[in-house]
């Protein structure tokens, strides 16, 4: 009597391959603890790179250079990072410019008596695809330095609120970083732990000010 034994071979093989697959999955589960890359709180922040203006010229910028990968919670020597996504023609960004400047000086310990860890500030300047938003590197420089002949949001950049900023501005005019960080609009703020994990995102905390979040999170970490 004939028997269909072909299925046995395939079933046997399928079980064997499935076993190998699950052994691999178990190995991965026991030896790694992956953290999702993203911009929600608890995610690992995506890369932020580009050419940045520091007040004297444009140099290569990589957010990783600001991070301390082996930082542990409670270590006060680790430097935090506040990333601002902005557009030099965005009204809300112009409105926030003064406050951001004050916060950066205070938390970067350039003035005031901040007792917590250093929080570096970095702005990623993009050009939103909105009529009237026409930015350039010259405009980014003018916005940061509060100088020049460029126009920010219809008025002279030199006349925006607040003082000149002391932190770097990354050229994101092609919106690559903004897309990678999935930022829907400006301004958007992200507080990054020294190990690169997103500790706070303005989109998830509409009722909390940036300064309050920094104080709350850096002092309790």
């Amino acid at each position: 009597m004939k028997k269909d034994t072909e299925a046995d071979v395939r079933t046997d093989t399928a079980i064997r391959v499935a076993a190998i697959f699950f052994v691999a999955i178990i190995f991965l589960a026991f030896t790694t603890d992956p953290i999702k890359t993203g911009t929600k709180e608890g995610d690992r922040a995506p890369a932020l790179t580009g050419m940045a203006y520091n007040g004297s010229g444009w140099t290569s910028f990589d957010m990783d250079d600001y991070l301390t990968p082996n930082w542990t919670a409670g270590d006060p020597t680790g430097q935090w990072l506040l990333v601002e996504f902005m557009d030099t023609d965005c009204g809300f960004c112009l409105r926030d410019a003064s406050k951001v400047g004050q916060n950066s000086n205070y938390f970067m310990k350039l003035g005031g008596d901040w007792q917590g860890p250093v929080v570096n500030f970095v702005a990623s300047a993009t050009e939103l695809n909105i009529q009237g938003h026409d930015s350039s590197r010259a405009e980014i420089q003018a916005f940061r330095d509060k100088s020049g002949e460029e126009t920010c949001g219809g008025n002279s950049c030199a006349n925006r609120d607040g003082n000149a900023h002391n932190f770097v501005y990354v050229d994101d005019l092609d919106a690559d970083n903004m897309d990678a960080w999935k930022v829907p609009g400006t301004p958007a703020y992200f507080l990054i732990q020294p190990d690169g994990i997103v500790a706070w995102a303005s989109a998830e905390n509409q009722n909390e000010e940036v300064a309050d979040a920094i104080i709350r999170l850096t002092l309790e970490a």
Partner: protein, 214 residues
């Protein structure tokens, strides 16, 4: 930390051995292999052994790339380098290290793909005369052929980043070698060499298994 080049050699050696078994070079391994199993005297048996080895290497490399991706996400450095060969830069790039539709890690996709290839090679290797063996080999050809499109996409990412991930490249090579293996198995079917017969005899060997194509 083990030198990454040593690990790469550890993958390259069995991959090359598998490839050799699928070519004329395989005949030189015949005496050694035949001492383990007489069936390896026949080209198609050596061919399927080689294909199994390459598929398994592809699977293990895929597991390794997923492991590296996970380690990088934890904040670790596994194979970062300032040179063009830096898998950390490729596997750690959140924009490119997952597929653009479902957001699944390429390493996991590789694991599924090579597990499927391994199923085909293993099943056909055990029952090469089964009715389903030839169609299965065709499915393998289509699968690994489609893999070329994925490889093209991943290489385009590497070109954009200006970095090369050595382990990903090893998985790509395994896919190409598997494609060659499936294609050659198809050719063996076409030219009538897909059989267990002594060269100087017409008597078929390995009549042990049932349910085979007559």
């Amino acid at each position: 930390m083990v030198d990454q080049n040593i690990i790469l050699i550890g993958y390259a050696v069995p991959l090359l051995f598998g490839l050799a078994l699928m070519t004329r070079l395989g005949e030189s391994f015949s005496p050694t292999l035949t001492s383990r199993s007489p069936l390896y005297a026949f080209p198609r048996r050596r061919h399927m052994l080689g294909l199994n080895i390459v598929a398994f290497v592809g699977f293990v490399v895929s597991v390794h790339t997923l492991w590296i991706s996970n380690k990088i996400s934890e904040g670790g450095n596994v194979c970062s380098s300032a040179t063009v060969f830096s898998c950390d830069d490729v596997l750690g790039n959140a924009q490119y290290n997952v597929d653009p539709i479902f957001g699944i890690s390429w390493g996991l996709i590789g694991m599924f793909a090579f597990a499927a290839v391994l199923f085909i090679t293993n099943a056909v290797g055990k029952e090469p005369d089964a009715i389903w063996a030839e169609p299965y080999l065709k499915y393998g050809t289509f699968m690994t052929g489609a893999g070329l499109l994925v490889i093209a996409l991943l290489v385009s990412y590497e070109v954009r980043m200006g970095k090369i991930c050595q382990f990903c490249t090893m998985a790509h090579i395994a896919n190409v070698v598997c494609l060659f293996g499936f294609w050659k198995a198809g050719k063996m079917h076409e030219n009538g060499s897909w059989k267990d017969e002594d060269e100087d005899s017409e008597a078929p060997r390995n009549t042990k298994s049932k349910g085979r194509k007559s």
